[in-house]
């Protein structure tokens, strides 16, 4: 919100405008009204007597609703304003806008109120990459409605604009002729409705905006009431926690296939879609707070699990999808997202989430319901992911035109490199993938033994896991640095850069106990730890850059799993140090952690420098404070009980997490800050 843009959203429908409520999108910027990955309005400009308005203030009332207070004229002096204009907008099958004009003058006012409207119907991918359109545009004017349309073959999208007050419609907008008495007011409501043929739930949703708004309000209140409460000395932690809950509510998204249930979308504005990896990580982070997200994620991703070999989509039987999109480029197969399967971590993580979900919720019914999906995911690891026949997960895209090169979470082109910066060939086997595979096997064995009653599969998975762990600790260990290599290259050479990935290995449990302490030392050492958090790539490596996307920045989500990993191996103080740094950074962003921030040393910048990206809020950053709370309080399900073993940073003081839901019903957890992270944080 500090970018001057006002964003409101509900699921994958969102509006991004300036602080006047106006939209004047260029081909490449993500402002406008978007739904199902298509821009339905690219121009929406309000004028009074031909004059633009000036913003006095904006209220983001809720994530789905904003109010703009405006006065006519572009002058910086407002004192003479005889008129006030209030726009109140909420998302509802498009959006609903109420415009009110107040006449403060002693005489009546005759005004021409005009809204310019246009749509380029751009696919979100086109906005990202500035591509040309191939279809035809139309504007149909009726007495009480303007319909903007786009058609390419049988693909049609339309935006319908109507108003409650009498208006004249033309192809470029609508005009009101208004007379307002002295000290009087005039009001109209305007509905902008998106219509999608074939794929549309938006077109079928209730069109009563008041009811939609009331439903969203109730829904948000219910969501907040169901979540555990935080009580603590530190006001900042409380507000960060609340910010996270509200943003997570905003990012919930009900794809048509999920039967009205919600799973987390990845982030605004580029990633309001179902992502395998992001939805799984966010669901894991939120388990102690909102376990139902995990259930929907598991069901929806299970529905789309791969069943065939399809090179264009990088699909294999058993593979969990990476990304599902609804826009024009996906429709015409100019992009493979229908869905695209090009990630290799989502499949083992699917089994990890299923097990972790059951440990918290005790919901064995879902584990039985998804038995075939989980078995297929486990089979995929051995039968389709081992491209080199060496017993590891490897990746190499088969769609060489629009597929992803790096199919791990660090998916930018230069993220996987040797110390000297050289890039390895393909296929690649990054280290954290092997950790996830190990964890999936161990957890799959538990599910097989206890719930699917298949002792044979359980025994096989345990044997395979033990074997994988033994080989991994030999093949990936960088002897002269005492850490695990980032990856193996096709010749089996260790890609030896020091990265945050080693912390994911602790989370997965694949690390030999004897090797764990040197990993902890590296994670909190000066090359990786910036003072705020752990960098993606260590200072001193060939490609290190404090503002390199995956080559030096600090990712809050990454750190939340590193902290969890450290706790898994008993490094309580180290975990607390990371939690402390990231939560202190959150305070600089009003509780809303960005996707990533610069890896500059803390004592150099004194504040965390946000990575220049437009994606905020982002789901797994939003989930980060939640997982950090779990980690600091040492929450761990054990049978039907919840173990609480707090190790809180000293500065945090007293923390209580009340009404934690799970198989135990609801329980409370308390902790007091004791761990001195001060010295450690400065490395």
């Amino acid at each position: 919100m500090n970018d001057g843009l006002v964003k409101i959203l509900d699921g994958n429908t969102f509006v991004v405008s300036d602080d006047r409520g106006d939209i004047e999108a260029s081909r490449t910027d993500p402002t406008g009204l978007f739904s199902f990955d298509t821009r339905f309005l690219s121009r929406w400009v309000l004028t009074v007597d031909g004059e633009r308005l000036n913003a006095l203030s904006v209220d983001d009332l809720q994530y789905f609703e904003a109010r703009y207070f405006l006065v006519p004229g572009t002058s910086k002096v407002y004192i003479d304003a005889k008129l006030s204009v209030i726009r109140r907008r909420s998302v509802a099958s498009g959006f609903h806008e109420e415009i009110t004009i107040l006449n403060h003058a002693a005489t009546p006012a005759s005004l021409t109120v005009r809204l310019d409207a246009a749509s380029d119907f751009a696919d979100l991918f086109e906005v990202k990459d500035a591509l040309e359109k191939k279809g035809r545009y139309s504007a149909t004017v009726a007495r009480r409605k303007l319909t903007l349309g786009y058609q390419r073959g049988s693909f049609t999208r339309a935006t319908e604009i109507s108003a409650s007050a009498p208006a004249t419609f033309d192809a470029d907008g609508l005009t009101f002729k208004v007379r307002i008495p002295s000290q009087g007011r005039w009001t109209t409501t305007i509905d902008v409705v998106t219509a999608t043929v074939g794929a549309g739930q938006a077109s079928r949703e209730t069109r009563n905006p008041k009811r939609v708004r009331a439903r969203m309000q109730r829904n948000l209140e219910h969501w907040l009431a169901e979540a555990p409460r935080v009580e603590c000395d530190l006001q900042q932690l409380k507000s960060t926690y609340r910010r996270s809950l509200v943003d997570l509510a905003a990012l919930r998204f009900s794809p048509p296939i999920a039967g009205g249930r919600a799973l987390p979308a990845a982030g605004l504005p580029w990633f309001m879609a179902m992502f395998g990896r992001d939805s799984i990580f966010t669901s894991l982070q939120a388990l102690p707070f909102a376990p139902e997200l995990a259930a929907t994620t598991l069901r929806a991703l299970g529905d789309w699990q791969g069943v065939r070999l399809d090179d264009f989509r990088d699909e294999d039987p058993g593979r969990i999808p990476h990304e599902l999109r609804y826009g024009e480029l996906t429709a015409f197969e100019e992009r493979p997202h229908s869905p695209y399967y090009g990630s290799v971590d989502a499949t083992p993580l699917y089994v990890v989430l299923l097990d972790e979900y059951e440990r918290w919720s005790g919901d064995r019914t879902l584990v039985r319901e998804l038995e075939l999906e989980a078995r297929a995911a486990l089979r995929w690891i051995d039968e389709y992911a081992d491209l080199q026949g060496t017993g590891y997960i490897w990746y190499q895209r088969r769609n060489e035109k629009s597929g992803l090169e790096n199919q791990c979470w660090k998916d930018s082109w230069d993220s996987i490199a040797f110390r000297d910066g050289a890039l390895p060939g393909f296929p690649r086997a990054t280290c954290e993938l092997q950790g996830y595979a190990y964890d999936a096997k161990v957890r799959g064995a538990r599910l097989a033994r206890e719930i699917w009653k298949d002792a044979e599969l359980a025994a096989k998975l345990e044997r395979d896991a033990a074997d994988l762990k033994r080989r991994f600790n030999r093949d990936f260990w960088v002897e002269d640095g005492e850490y695990f290599a980032l990856a193996l290259d096709p010749e089996g050479r260790r890609v030896d850069a020091l990265t945050s990935n080693i912390g994911h290995l602790l989370w997965s449990g694949i690390v030999d106990d004897a090797k764990a302490s040197s990993l902890a030392r590296h994670l909190l050492g000066p090359r990786l730890f910036s003072g705020w958090g752990v960098r993606t790539l260590a200072e001193g490596e060939g490609r290190y850059n404090p503002i390199g996307y995956h080559t030096g920045t600090v990712w809050p989500f990454d750190n939340s799993f590193l902290a969890w990993g450290l706790r898994c191996y008993g490094f309580k103080d180290e975990a607390a140090a990371i939690a402390s740094g990231i939560l202190e950074a959150a305070a600089f962003f009003e509780g809303r952690l960005p996707e990533a921030f610069g890896g500059y040393p803390r004592e150099l910048t004194r504040y965390p420098v946000q990575y220049p990206t437009a994606c905020s809020p982002q789901a797994w950053s939003t989930g980060t404070p939640l997982l950090l709370l779990r980690t600091m309080l040492g929450l761990e399900p054990h049978g039907d009980h919840l173990i609480v073993d707090p190790a809180l940073p000293h500065d945090i003081g007293h923390v209580a997490l009340l009404d934690i839901p799970g198989r135990w019903g609801r329980v409370d957890a308390f902790g007091r800050g004791r761990t001195d992270v001060g010295r450690r944080a400065r490395g």
């Binding site: 073959g153 043929v197 074939g198 296939i257 069943v307 070999l309 399809d310 090179d311 699909e315 429709a331």
Partner: protein, 88 residues
């Protein structure tokens, strides 16, 4: 689940029922939780792996009415494109 196969002015309906893993296929326009409708040519391409069902829905060539999850499950039965150069 009902398939409505459009051939010119004629529409032929088939109902597919799934009960505990058993599939029955019947000719006729019975009640269904999900109705999908398209030209015969579209269904032929889907059934031979030359078209992707979800992309067809997005293009408006295949329309879905009712429970989407059923379509997602059903599309698993369609084959993949030929000549996949994948290993395995």
């Amino acid at each position: 689940m009902r398939f409505e196969i459009v051939e010119g002015r004629k529409t032929r309906s088939w109902c597919v029922a799934v009960a505990k893993g058993d599939l029955t296929v019947e000719h006729g326009a019975g009640e269904a939780h999900c109705v999908v409708r398209a030209d015969r040519g579209v269904f032929e391409k889907l059934a031979t792996g030359r078209m992707n069902a979800f992309a067809a829905v997005l293009r408006g060539e295949l329309t879905v009415d009712g429970d989407w999850r059923l379509l997602v499950s059903m599309q698993r039965l369609f084959p993949g494109p030929r000549r996949a150069k994948a290993r395995a």
